[in-house]
């Protein structure tokens, strides 16, 4: 009595998924995508898996709503009994999940005993998409029978063990060269608990790769907690704008001046802000700020500073960099970049500066023709002269300017609300 592995598994952990909207006239695509995203998070939370939504048939996991016979040899039966099915990892249908469009699907945690929770059923079906078959353990998510919506759902042990046999657990994560900061004691909750502002001194010679900036010798970040610079040095995240923001190795990094904050799934890591130079080596000594940062689809990390850009493999600067912005195909006249992000909608890289934006194709390494364009042409409601842009774990793109941000709705192609919301309140609990 336990989970059952079905043999195949994905040979890569950074999976892509895409909702195909055939038969979806009656349902709100935004809520459907949100429920699917949350269902996938159940599995990524307990494994090395990551899921990125793209708008392409080439995604690893394609999600369809189908009716009756739909060409895969497993016809649906109308409302009741069979709710959905999914295919184990592999080519063709491999990984795909099909939902019976004739069911009465409840979205976004709606409660009513007549309908069926899409979130719950999707969580189960994605277990198949990842290589889990049914489990006979009572209460397991991979039990064949629908068990209703549990709002505070936590993955049962049987399912968690099954997925970790296939894709390890998150804690084993090898994060390239960036040291994963995991304090010995469980991290206290919260972003608004600022760690004590002490300086860390060592009597032994520093292992730091950069000469200490002050008479105090700091312990190198690679061996211990990030340095805690003297109080008067550090910016206060409740009282500042930000130069750049990006998701790097699944954590959310905010950059200001010479420092960065790092937010994980449980909030702000203690010991931050840390000097950027402690995580990314060989940035210019006289650097006052970074203009934009993003993690490429090949997981290299790109910093834009003035007229140059720097490509890092983990902490290490890739040989041959920095290069001028013109090497990307940006015009000579550009003296800086404001924001860069990969747009989940089409996996293209968008570069913003002033009132203009460009579209860059990471796969062909070329700036696309027909650019620059005015930001307002498609990014309705987003202002000019941005500070940052990034795609967050919920699949939406966020644009930051001054101390506010807009959440962009890919389907409506406009910001969710005209008035920007406070960055400090939303991300730092100010």
């Amino acid at each position: 009595k336990r989970y059952t592995l079905h043999g195949q598994k994905w040979q890569h952990v950074n999976l892509t998924w895409s909702l195909r909207t055939r038969h979806l006239e009656r349902m709100d695509h935004g809520w459907v995508r949100s429920d699917l995203h949350k269902a996938l998070e159940i599995w990524s939370k307990h494994s090395k898996l990551t899921f990125r939504e793209i708008n392409s048939e080439t995604a690893d996991i394609l999600v369809y709503f189908e009716k009756g016979y739909h060409g895969d040899g497993y016809p649906f039966d109308g409302r009741g009994q069979v709710l959905a099915h999914a295919f184990f990892p592999g080519t063709g249908h491999g990984g795909d999940a099909h939902f019976d469009v004739e069911e009465d699907w409840l979205l976004n945690g709606e409660q009513n005993n007549e309908g069926t929770s899409l979130y719950t059923v999707a969580a189960h079906e994605f277990g198949h998409s990842l290589g889990l078959a049914h489990s006979s353990v009572g209460g397991a998510l991979m039990s064949p029978w629908y068990q209703g919506l549990q709002s505070d759902f936590e993955l049962p042990d049987d399912d968690r063990l099954g997925i970790q046999v296939l894709y390890d657990s998150k804690n084993d994560k090898k994060w390239g060269n960036i040291p994963v900061y995991r304090p010995a004691a469980p991290r206290p909750n919260y972003p608004n608990t600022i760690p004590p502002r002490t300086t860390v001194r060592t009597t032994t010679s520093s292992t730091s790769t950069t000469t200490p900036r002050t008479t105090t010798t700091y312990t190198n970040i690679r061996t211990r907690q990030p340095d805690i610079p003297p109080a008067n040095d550090k910016p206060d995240f409740c009282n500042t704008t930000f130069d750049a923001v990006s998701i790097i190795r699944k954590d959310l990094f905010f950059f200001k001046g010479k420092y960065s904050w790092r937010l994980g799934d449980k909030g702000l890591y203690s010991g931050y802000p840390a000097l950027i130079s402690r995580l990314w080596y060989n940035l210019p000594e006289d650097m006052n700020q970074v203009d934009a940062v993003y993690e490429r689809q090949d997981h290299k990390i790109v910093f834009f500073i003035g007229r140059s850009f720097y490509v890092f493999n983990g902490n290490i600067l890739v040989p041959g960099y920095p290069k001028p912005l013109t090497a990307l195909g940006l015009p000579e006249r550009l003296d800086h970049v404001d924001a860069v992000t990969v747009w989940g909608h089409n996996s293209k890289t968008y570069i913003f500066s002033g009132t203009e934006y460009w579209r860059y194709d990471d796969e062909t390494d070329r700036m696309e023709l027909g650019y620059p364009r005015d930001i307002m042409t498609i990014w309705k409601g987003v202002g000019y002269n941005l500070n940052a842009a990034f795609q967050w774990h919920d699949g939406a793109t966020y644009f930051l300017k001054n101390r506010g941000f807009w959440k962009f709705n890919d389907l409506r192609m406009r910001v969710e609300q005209e008035e920007p919301r406070s960055i400090g309140e939303f991300w730092f609990n100010c």
Partner: protein, 83 residues
């Protein structure tokens, strides 16, 4: 519209539905069209026992009320017993 029965209880499975259900979800081998549904009664009892184990209900090998109830429940379309 007539009030739908709660939990979408479908009409109770009748004899061929039992074979259909057990075959569909992998408890009985696909019937061999050349020989038709010649599964033996023993095969049926074994299949019911496996289903009852999967569904965490008393394992009787018989098509009793709890088993019929289980077979009416909404579920995933992927077979439980995969070759």
């Amino acid at each position: 519209r007539p009030v739908e029965q709660s939990n979408k209880i479908r009409s109770p499975p009748v004899h061929e539905d039992v074979y259909g259900y057990l075959t569909k979800f992998g408890y009985l081998p696909e019937s061999d069209l050349a020989t038709g549904n010649l599964q033996t009664v023993d095969q049926l009892h074994d299949a019911l026992r496996t289903l009852q184990t999967y569904g965490n209900i008393p394992v009787t090998g018989k098509l009793d009320a709890e088993t019929k109830e289980l077979m009416r429940k909404p579920r995933c379309g992927v077979p439980d017993v995969t070759p």
